[in-house]
Each structure stands twice: as structure tokens, then as C-alpha cells.
């Protein structure tokens, strides 16, 4: 089957904790849709022919590489034989088509191959999942496996856990077209699926950061975690409790008819660009997966934050979204902060997303709060500025409507 995917590389804005906007270059599924960071999860089944058309809406050449796929590289060299791009690119306003057969199942990545030290950092990266033939056929031995029968990769629930870093200063330099010095690379945010904690546990949405890192699981279900490191640095992801079984690395199963080389791991290191598939059956409760480089559990310097994901194991899921919060008030009683309170009308919420906008700008996420929150102090505010706040409640069934909007002008 031919899997045809069109992607538009476009600039956009993401929301960093505290309600800060940052320019990204993301991949959108239509010329008018929000560009996403990471890009959309591309999916194919073994035997498919994958054809990807990349439309360039940026001001510089852009391309995509598909590491691990059977696709001969077509690097672009300059007159002196030096690499200009790791692969064919689309000039601004132009398009480029890549195609390859999905010849083996696995967890892979795709990313820009042009000035990748800039463009991948800007957000041009994503996950590519290739499933074995028969994975969705209950009669097939490959049904709900990542790598086919007898590879130890059977699962009930799967989740992509894609790691990356975000250097806000780099984004500012690159977005303005200034010369970027990669020696200055020093990320302040550490992302899972494009969001840092706690925003990563908020529900999926239609923003530039649409993916969640909350993995809902029913007790007894086998979970397949597809870990991908799209960052530039190595990351060691740790489980709070017992280990998970590593069944594949870089999209290659560790079990064959001759040898079972799968192994248990409690803290797994992924070098830049590596992937691993892990299977485990977690007990009831909330289980964080966190970057064991504990200094990455911050947003700028605020703890807790950073590179975390949540495996959320329950006996049942809610069936209706929570009631919306109400009576949101915003008070600027002290310089440099805004006190927010609201009434929680839900009985079964998992948390709240608090958003604000500056003047008439777009609403950006300030933070995500967990169950039971009815107050928050926003300390990331400018003086003499008018902000409008709103809050919603969420659970695994969805999100509530927004509360009323509360407008406040900060003190000098």
C-alpha cells in the first residue's frame, strides 16, 4: 500500500512553562494547520511504500532524513566537496519528495538533514513507527506486537516517548536569522513529546505541542514504550520502581529464533539519535519515568519540571470530561506576581491547565496543575502589564470548557 504523507515546514510559537512564547520551526499536516513539535507521528506497516512530500514554508532550504530506512543518501555538496545538506532539500517555497519501502518494523525517527544543528533544534524532528504486517489482525501472530511474533514485543497499550532539548536562546538567534554558534548550545528546557513537565501530563490538544506524555493504562495491561532520543545529548530515563524489558534497540528486536538477548533495565541510556522499545506490566498507580540526570528536571531553573513522563495505571477510566472550573479571580496584590483562585466543580479531574494572554495576544499555557488545585501564584509576570487568565479541568476522558476569563494589570 502507498502511504502518502504531506508535511509543511513552517514557523510557529510554542508555549514554555510560565507562559513564555518561543519561535519554533515545526511540521504541519496542512498549509494552515499548526506546525507541531515534534512533528506528527508517521505510521506505516511493513510492505507499505512510504512517500513523504515536504513543503518548505521557511526562509531557508529544508530537508528530511529517515535514519534506519533503506534509502540511499543523496547528500548535497558544495563546489569544494563539503557537505551542504545531508540529503536533498526543498528551497524556500518549494517541495521535495522522499520515498522508501517500510521493509522492517521498528521505532525510528525522522528529522531535518539541512543545518541540523539549527533546524533539528528548532523543532524539525519526529517519530516514525513501522508496524509488522498483521499487527492489527486478531488472527495474526503479529497482532499487537512491535516486532512480530516471538520477539517478546507483545503489548496492549503503546506510547511514543520522544526526548529532546530546547535552548531558548538558540531559538531566538536562529529565528532572527543571526549566525548561530553551536558551541553556545545550552538547553534550559528538557522535553518529552515536545513538552516539559508538568505540561507533558496535560491532555493532547491541537496546539503546536499537541502530544501528551501521560500514558493511560488499565491494571494488567502490557505497555510498550517506544523511546526515541531526538535531542543532541544523551539521556538516561529511569523508572521509579522495577525495571522494564528492553526488547529492541534502534528498531531492531533483541530476540531471534536463535537467541533471546532482551534484558531488564531500570535506568536506560539513549545516546543522541538512539531508540529503544521497552515492555512492562506496571502495577496500579502513577509511575514517573524521569531523566536520571536530575539537573534536567527543571524548567529554566525551576524544579520540578523537565524531562518526565507519567505511566498512569488504573482499574477504570473516566467516561466523561470534568466540569469546568468557575469564579476564576486574578489579583495583583504584590509586585511581580498575580494570585489566581478558582472554584473546582469537578469530582473526577486529573488536573488543570492554566493559560494567560498578554494584551490581545494568543493564550499560552502558564502551567499544568494536578488534581485538586484551586489556586496558583504566577510569578513570571512583567510589571504594568495586563494579563487575561483562564483555566480548564481535564481528565482522561477529555477537557472541560474554559472557566470565565479574569483580567488583571500587574503592579509597577
Amino acid at each position: 500500500m502507498l502511504v502518502s504523507i504531506e508535511l509543511w515546514a513552517r514557523p510557529g510559537i510554542v508555549s514554555l512553562p510560565g507562559g513564555f512564547p518561543a519561535v519554533i520551526w515545526g511540521l504541519a499536516t496542512s498549509p494552515t494547520a499548526a506546525p507541531q513539535v515534534p512533528g506528527p507521528v508517521l505510521e506505516a506497516t511493513v510492505g507499505d511504500m512510504v512517500e513523504i512530500t515536504l513543503h518548505n514554508m521557511l526562509n531557508e532550504p529544508v530537508s528530511l532524513t529517515f535514519p534506519g530506512q533503506e534509502i540511499a543518501p543523496e547528500p548535497v555538496l558544495d563546489a569544494s566537496g563539503r557537505l551542504v545538506s545531508l540529503t536533498r532539500f526543498a528551497a524556500p517555497g518549494r517541495s521535495v519528495v522522499y520515498s522508501f519501502p517500510a521493509y522492517r518494523p521498528g521505532t525510528f525517527r525522522y528529522e531535518s538533514g539541512t543545518s541540523p544543528e539549527r533546524q533539528v533544534q528548532m523543532g524539525l524532528y519526529g517519530a516514525l513507527i513501522v508496524r509488522p504486517a498483521g499487527w492489527d489482525d486478531p488472527a495474526s501472530p503479529n497482532y499487537y506486537t512491535a516486532y512480530g511474533a516471538d520477539t517478546g514485543s507483545g503489548y496492549d497499550v503503546e506510547a511514543v516517548i520522544l526526548l529532546s532539548e530546547f535552548d531558548r536562546a538558540a531559538h531566538e538567534v536562529i529565528a532572527t536569522g543571526d549566525v548561530y554558534n553551536p558551541l553556545n548550545y545550552a538547553p534550559q528546557y528538557w522535553l518529552v513529546n515536545g513538552r516539559p513537565f508538568p505540561d507533558c501530563v496535560a491532555p493532547p490538544d491541537t496546539s503546536t505541542q499537541p502530544l501528551t506524555s501521560r500514558v493511560p493504562v488499565l491494571v494488567g495491561q502490557r505497555v510498550l514504550l517506544r523511546l526515541i532520543n531526538s535531542g543532541f545529548l544523551a539521556h538516561t530515563l529511569a523508572f521509579q520502581e522495577g525495571p522494564a524489558r528492553v526488547v529492541a534497540e534502534d528498531g531492531r528486536p533483541r530476540r531471534s529464533p536463535l537467541l533471546d538477548a532482551t534484558y531488564d533495565k531500570n535506568a536506560i541510556t539513549l545516546g543522541a539519535g538512539q531508540s529503544a522499545d521497552l515492555v512492562f506490566t506496571p502495577p496500579e498507580g502513577e509511575h514517573y519515568l524521569y531523566d536520571r540526570d536530575l539537573l534536567h528536571l527543571v524548567n529554566t531553573d525551576d524544579y520540578p519540571g523537565g524531562m518526565m513522563a507519567l505511566v498512569d495505571v488504573r482499574t477504570a477510566f473516566p467516561v466523561t470530561p470534568p466540569e469546568a472550573p468557575s469564579s476564576l479571580t486574578a489579583t495583583a496584590a504584590l509586585p511581580g506576581q498575580v494570585e489566581l483562585t478558582w472554584i473546582n466543580n469537578a469530582a473526577d479531574e486529573d488536573g488543570f491547565v492554566l493559560e494567560r494572554r498578554t494584551g490581545a495576544g494568543p493564550f499560552l499555557r502558564v502551567t499544568t496543575l494536578m488534581v485538586g488545585a484551586t489556586a496558583y501564584t504566577d510569578t513570571h509576570v512583567e510589571a504594568n502589564t495586563t494579563y487575561t487568565y483562564r483555566v480548564l479541568a481535564f481528565n482522561l476522558a477529555g477537557t472541560s470548557a474554559y472557566s470565565n476569563e479574569a483580567v488583571v494589570t500587574t503592579l509597577p
Binding site: 557537505l83 544543528e117 553551536p182 558551541l183 543532541f232 528498531g251 537467541l259 543522541a272
Partner: protein, 345 residues
């Protein structure tokens, strides 16, 4: 079995980066076969990398280290050593650690002796104040061939011996490291350097940064950096890549379009206790300082395959891109290239 005698001198020199910057180094210079009265003329002629030391299991190896002193740093009377990194069952006399045996003062010789028992990819380096002497450039690649190695017979042209599934047609070593220009400058200017401030600006393969990694011709500017890393092969050939990390950082190396079959690590065939074949494929090789990894690639299509650091911020020369830890793998149609005369050429 062969009696191998080599002689290396410890001295200094300068190297050049693609941006034209020049950096002071310490290093080794090959003195093998150099008449005694010409030894002194090799002062100040250290190379980065140090010469490839190539031996075979069963050889008896005598390695003489001569400390020639540092013409650029006449004040410096540091001793030097040679540490065969990873040599199994070493005795302390020949381990090259000054704190546990002896080091070689300026103007003196010492003979290290080895009877290699295990084939594989190793490294050697000076172990005197190793943080300084390794970063300054006293590092070299070391290959121990299996006892049955015979490049004329494809069954015996292997990394780990006949029957181990490690046959290859061509081989290259890629010693990767980093260069902190401030450290080199401080050492040259007889200033203290705080090694906890180590922060490289160049990332090197075989002592060179991209695109110098591609220069196969002898080059005036690269006179002290003898090893290019342009990898060339014919389609369908097996190419053995011997990765050696003698930097201080972990690195993630990848080749766009070519999966890496990892057959050995740390000079050990990847086998379990009962002979289980633990060789496996990866797209990105992630490894740390002081590790070696043996990889076989089997390109089927003629093409240019870029090899680079997936930590993209390291593919730079002091901020300029492209640069750093990159090279090309050029694959020609079958039968284009003649057989390879030796590793890395």
C-alpha cells in the same frame, strides 16, 4: 610469530584546524629505524595521532619510548609513559602508570614489552598526568590481529579470527577526540589550566576536523596530522570500522544510510559466556571515553554516506559549520577500487 621492535619518541609540535588555527600539542613521533644520530632532529615533530601500532597475537613486541623533551617548553621536564589501554593481564612494569611503576624522564629510554594474547582494537596513550598529556595529544590507535590473520585469504582476513564472522575487505580506524583550544594555549604559555573547566571547541576524527578528515593527499598544513578518515569501498564489500574514543566525552556516531553491525567492543568479540553471538545492529553508536567498538558496514549501493556525530552541535569547528566530527564514506561500483594496502589507506 614475529619479534616486533618499534620506537616512539615523546615530544611536541603544532597542528592545524580547518579554520587555519594552529594548536600546540604534545605527542609521539615514530623513531622506528631512525639512526641514533638523527633522533635529536625528531624533536618537535610529534604527530596527532601517534603512529598506528599494529601487532599480531603471538608476536613479541618491544616498544621503546624515548623522551625527547619539548622544544617549545624547555622549562618542562615532564616524564612520559606508554599505556597499552586494555592489555589483558598486564604487569605493572609495562602498564605505563607512573604512580605504580616507572616513567621515562627527558633524555631517557625505556622498553615496554608485550605478548598480545587477545585480538581487537585498543589504544595507547601517555599516562603521565593523563588529563593533560592525553588532551595535549599523546594518543594513538592500536590493532592486535588474530594469530591466524592472513590478508591474502578472505577467510582469514578477520578482526577476531577465522570462523568468528568478522571477515572484512577493508578496514579503517577512527580515533575520536576533542580539542579545547584554551587548554592547549595555556599549556603552551606555561599557564595553569583548570581541567574542571574543560570545554572543547573542536571535535576530531584521527586528529583532524571536517573537512580536513577528507584530505587523502599529503598536505603541508597537515604535516603533523598524518591520518585522514575518508572511507572508501566498493559496493558489496565489508568494511571494518575500528572506533576508538580517546576524548573525554561520550559520543553518538552515526552513518546516514548504513546500519552498523557491532561485532566487538573493548577488544573482545561480542560473545556470551557459552559462545552466544551477541553481535547486533545499531543506527547510532554511543560510547564513552576509553572504549573501543568494532563495526562492520556492508554498503550495497554506490553513494556518498556521511558519517557524523548525532550530537549535531559537535559537528563544528569553533562555531563554524559544517565541521568537527564528520567524514565521508564513498562507495564505488563493485570492482572500482583495488584492494586496500593497509588499514586507513
Amino acid at each position: 610469530m614475529t619479534f616486533v621492535q618499534v620506537r616512539y619518541g615523546a615530544t611536541d609540535s603544532f597542528i592545524t584546524m580547518p579554520d587555519g588555527s594552529v594548536h600546540y600539542i604534545f605527542g609521539f613521533v615514530d623513531l622506528t629505524g631512525v639512526p641514533e644520530n638523527e633522533i635529536f632532529a625528531r624533536r618537535g615533530k610529534a604527530t596527532l595521532l601517534a603512529p598506528l601500532l599494529e601487532v599480531r597475537v603471538g608476536d613479541r613486541v618491544e616498544l621503546t619510548l624515548t623522551n625527547l623533551g619539548m622544544p617549545q617548553r624547555p622549562d618542562l621536564d615532564d616524564s612520559h609513559t606508554i599505556h597499552w589501554h586494555g592489555f589483558p593481564n598486564q604487569i605493572s612494569l609495562w602498564d605505563g602508570v607512573p604512580e605504580t611503576s616507572i616513567a621515562v624522564p627527558v633524555g631517557r629510554d625505556f622498553i615496554y614489552y608485550y605478548e598480545p594474547k587477545d585480538p581487537g582494537t585498543y589504544m595507547y596513550h601517555c599516562h603521565f598526568e593523563p588529563v593533560e598529556h592525553i588532551q595535549m595529544g599523546m594518543v594513538g590507535p592500536l590493532i592486535a590481529r588474530p594469530a591466524d590473520y592472513n590478508p591474502a585469504n578472505p577467510l582469514f582476513k578477520t578482526a577476531y579470527g577465522a570462523g568468528t564472522g568478522t571477515e572484512f575487505d577493508r578496514e579503517y580506524f577512527l580515533l575520536i577526540s576533542e580539542l579545547d583550544p584554551v587548554a592547549h594555549e595555556q599549556v603552551h604559555r606555561v599557564q595553569e589550566f583548570d581541567w574542571s573547566e574543560y570545554r572543547p571547541a573542536y571535535w576530531l576524527i584521527n586528529g583532524r576536523a571536517y573537512p580536513d578528515t577528507l584530505h587523502t593527499a599529503p598536505d603541508g598544513d597537515l604535516s603533523q596530522q598524518p591520518y585522514h578518515s575518508l572511507i572508501q569501498a566498493n559496493a558489496g564489500e565489508k568494511v571494518l570500522l575500528r572506533f576508538i574514543n580517546l576524548g573525554f566525552e561520550e559520543h553518538a556516531i552515526t552513518i546516514l544510510g548504513l546500519p552498523l553491525r557491532i561485532i566487538g567492543r573493548d577488544a573482545q568479540l561480542l560473545r556470551g559466556l557459552h559462545g552466544e553471538d551477541l553481535s547486533h545492529w545499531r543506527d547510532v553508536l554511543y560510547f564513552g571515553a576509553g572504549q573501543t567498538v568494532d563495526v562492520i558496514i556492508e554498503p550495497q549501493q554506490p553513494a556518498l554516506y556521511p558519517l557524523f556525530n548525532r550530537g549535531y552541535h559537535k559537528n563544528t569547528n569553533a562555531g563554524a559549520t559544517p565541521g568537527g566530527m564528520m567524514t565521508h564514506i564513498t562507495v564505488y561500483p563493485a570492482g572500482t577500487l583495488p584492494p586496500q594496502p593497509g588499514p586507513g589507506f
